[in-house]
């Protein structure tokens, strides 16, 4: 796969040298996406910068700094601290369960005084890191042995278990999807996935028993939103009306009736894509979808050009993570997937989500900068 690997090695490890090695294209695309988010939040607030757009801009600028900082970190340092970070996340998740702040009927936040920390967001990143670290030194032959799946399975399921009990089903599922994608690319045999998919389908009735009432309602409403257009199906129905009524060119900036008359629920968080699509129409929404796809493609490109397995897997896993969020969120607002409460990364209003997504892109950028670094094998 020399196609993706640059012939000019990134040897210059001075700060300036590293800055030159950043994948600036992706960073610029991220900034464009964030700006679309600011515009949408400005519109969501009825044409004012407060309360959402202003806060989001400050968070973005702060997170952008963090992204660059992480990007410039020596990947060997990251490599060495993976287990510490992973373990730390598990402890935070436990803390949430114990002393967590009760919000939205589910314990998800740790109040740190200055900000509310959502450890489940961190778990998405550190689980991918742990898997990348684990498989970094593994030979393909070992990977294919079924008994060697035990450790990665534990790596995935520990945070998933803690997240789901919060309960945050959406994030749990996202971690499982990203983890499964990573197991797939490292070379775990195909047949296991087929068995796994069949097993998952078989487990649906059992899992159903463990769902909370509101989670069951969400799934049922998804299956037939028109059954109760003024009740639980209201959100999906109104979101589809908003999207559809945007038409080809949209209703115009600040002119979205569905969002401004509050027919659109959660318009500044989970349903922000709908708000954008109502005001900017098919042109705007396809443009946004293209922008998101380009950011994802950029991530894969970085993964492919990495010459050490850790960076390759890390960049890949984090990109998969990002794309899962994009597809699930947009699928949800269009009525293709159940409403699972997953935000659209970089656009939805929210602190921790913004922070962790930018951290993840920082790590991807670091992989790009240090794509040629040599990392020790073994745990």
């Amino acid at each position: 796969m020399s196609l993706f690997q640059s012939h000019i090695h990134s040897d210059d490890m001075s700060i300036l040298g590293r800055l030159k090695q950043l994948a600036w294209g992706q960073i610029i695309l991220i900034c464009v996406l964030a700006c679309i988010g600011f515009l949408s939040l400005y519109s969501a607030a009825g044409g004012t910068i407060d309360p959402w757009a202003s806060a989001q801009i400050i968070r973005f600028l702060f997170s952008l700094g963090l992204l660059l900082g992480i990007a410039l970190l020596d990947i060997r340092l990251i490599f060495r601290s993976v287990w510490v970070l992973y373990g730390g996340t598990l402890i935070l998740l436990l803390l949430v369960d114990i002393i967590g702040h009760v919000g939205m009927g589910a314990q998800r936040w740790l109040d740190l005084g200055i900000m509310k920390l959502q450890p489940s967001e961190l778990a998405k990143v550190t689980t991918v890191m742990a898997l990348a670290r684990y498989y970094h030194g593994k030979e393909l032959a070992d990977v294919r042995k079924i008994k060697n799946l035990l450790v990665p399975a534990i790596i995935i399921l520990m945070p998933v278990g803690l997240v789901v009990t919060q309960p945050d089903l959406g994030t749990g599922m996202a971690i499982i999807f990203a983890g499964t994608a990573m197991l797939f690319v490292v070379g775990v045999p195909y047949r296991l996935f087929i068995v796994g998919i069949l097993g998952a389908v078989g487990a649906v009735p059992i899992a159903w028993q463990f769902l909370r009432d509101y989670q069951k309602n969400r799934v049922l409403t998804f299956l037939n939103p028109e059954s109760d257009p003024l009740g639980a199906g209201f959100h999906i129905t109104q979101s589809k009306i908003a999207l559809g009524s945007g038409g080809f060119t949209g209703k115009g900036f600040l002119e979205g009736t569905q969002s401004h008359l509050n027919f659109l629920p959660e318009k500044h968080t989970d349903f922000i894509f709908t708000l954008w699509a109502e005001e900017w129409g098919f042109l705007g929404s396809i443009g946004l979808l293209t922008l998101l796809s380009l950011i994802i493609l950029y991530g894969y490109w970085i993964a492919f050009r990495c010459r050490n397995h850790f960076a390759r897997l890390l960049a890949f896993g984090l990109t998969v993570n990002f794309s899962i969020y994009v597809i699930v969120n947009i699928g949800m607002v269009m009525g293709l997937l159940p409403v699972v409460g997953i935000p659209l990364p970089l656009m939805s209003y929210g602190g921790t989500a913004m922070l962790t997504v930018m951290m993840a892109f920082g790590l991807i950028q670091s992989c790009n900068v240090h794509r040629d670094a040599k990392l020790p094998r073994g745990l």
Partner: protein, 616 residues
Amino acid sequence: MDRDQEKVDSFARRAFVVGGLQGIGVSILGWRLSWLQLVEGERYTTLAENNRINVRIIPPSRGQIVDRYGVPLATNLQNFQVIVTPEQSENLEKTLRDLQSVITVDERDIAKAIKMAKRSPSYVPVEVRDNLAWEEVSKVELALPHLPGVTIQAGELRSYPYKDSTAHIVGYVGRVSDVGKMKDSLLSLPGFQVGKSAIEKKNDLDLRGKPGRAEMEVNVHGRPVRQLGIQPPVPGARLILSIDAEFQRFVQQRLATERSASAVVMDVETGEVYACVSHPSFDPNAFSGGISAMDWEQLRDDPTLPLNNKAINGVYPPGSTFKIVTALAGLESGLINGSWTVTCPGHFDLGKSRFHCWKSGGHGTVNVVTALSHSCDTYFYKLATVIGIDRIADMARRLGLGSVYGFDLPEEKPGLIPDVKWKREVKNDIWHPGESLVSAIGQGAVETTPLQLATMLSRVVNGGKAISPWLAGYANEIPLSVNLNANAPKIDIKSSNLALVRRGMEAVMEQGGTAYGSRITEEGMTMGGKTGTSQVRRISMAERASGVRRQEDLPWHLRHHALFIGYAPTDTPKYACCVVVEHGIGGSAAAAPIARDLLLEVQKRDPKSRKLEGTS
């Protein structure tokens, strides 16, 4: 490095698979977007507009009903209602309890409001109480800051200033019953009222007017954000009735001396009804605010039928008032004339049957004029055998009996004029000659309403013009019931015969006449008329043998009905009236004095002297 290369290749292959799956995912999103926004865009645009725009129906003001002088008979009062929007009230029950401490609110009303609130979306206001007095309104207004979600709404309440006097002609309004409610958005407005009886019902569509529309931009809670457009309502038409309201009230009060009675006073030339009264009556205002079940049952079960307009749907054997018809049928047949006489021994024998005259001693020899003035039954028994029932029935129909006129009140009844054909077709039996005798004096199967008797008399005294009674004049400038009476056809009756009958009716009021005691004594005022007493129960042979029981000894509901038809003045008749006192025993004693008072009063008021607006 080979093993590493193998790892990289495996990674690359599988990463392409994952990327491919994601590519499919994104493609599905793109396809879905184009479906929603391009293919279905228009449909969703409509849905979004429907979401955004809420069309509020503005109810029109119900049209006034006035009498011939423009005096309001039905009008609208401001009605203040307390309504509560459940969405704006944190705790509906608590809010209602707080309201209870400010004004009186029934437990029933609270329960009803809570029930209504549960049934509809929380932004739909529910009514808690209406008909608030001024002081109650100000009390609630003062307490509003402590009553979240509560507002005062000004609506309209139908009001009938003449109360029970005009209840039977004007009618009343009430809530729309559920049948057909969904068709008309106006009808489904909360609290909207439609006419339930009489003019309010018959002319409901004219009175209702056209609803206005206010287009409001609303938010998701249905709360108006701004007004987009307004189309004001068109108030209902103003209805002018031929009634003279004060005279109507006079008649009502005059009839109130009896337990159950009705009367019609009309114009013999134009058919305009000046008063149409049924006693006892009811207060239609009780219906506007919703009548209580107890009051309703009381009205419904009263044996004197206060809810019925007996002047138009009370059917009675006309008794001797019918002799006018029989007399005219005889004179017109050519088989008798004014000098044809009958000697009355107090009874008349037909085969083996004996038919009694009301005066057991007999009237001696009578002609048509004296037979009418003394109301001699024997004369008409004999006449019936000469001319037969079909001539009598034919004359009765020509004079307006036995069918409905298409009068302006929907409750009108046709009554019945029997003849040979009717007996054969309806009763499936042959006509017995004795039935002709009974029918000739207005007994047996003959049934008429007071309105019909007044019309019959009008046609006799106006020279044979076939006028029909009417009541509803004009809605604004548009004629509601075209007055066909100007071109009413002439009934082909010789004026000399009409004059004979009129002479007979004048003689009724003279010395020896059956209503001499009830004559008008006032200078310059005159009247003619005919008494009638109709049997409610048959007097049996045995009873007649052992002496007829005095009517006063019978229970009320078995006593004879007392009737009187009269007209005034005698030279050029203007007004005709019919008075029926149910179970009043005798026409001359019970009905004639009332008729006298009515004809005297109507001549004094002389409503005919002022033409109804819009009539020519």
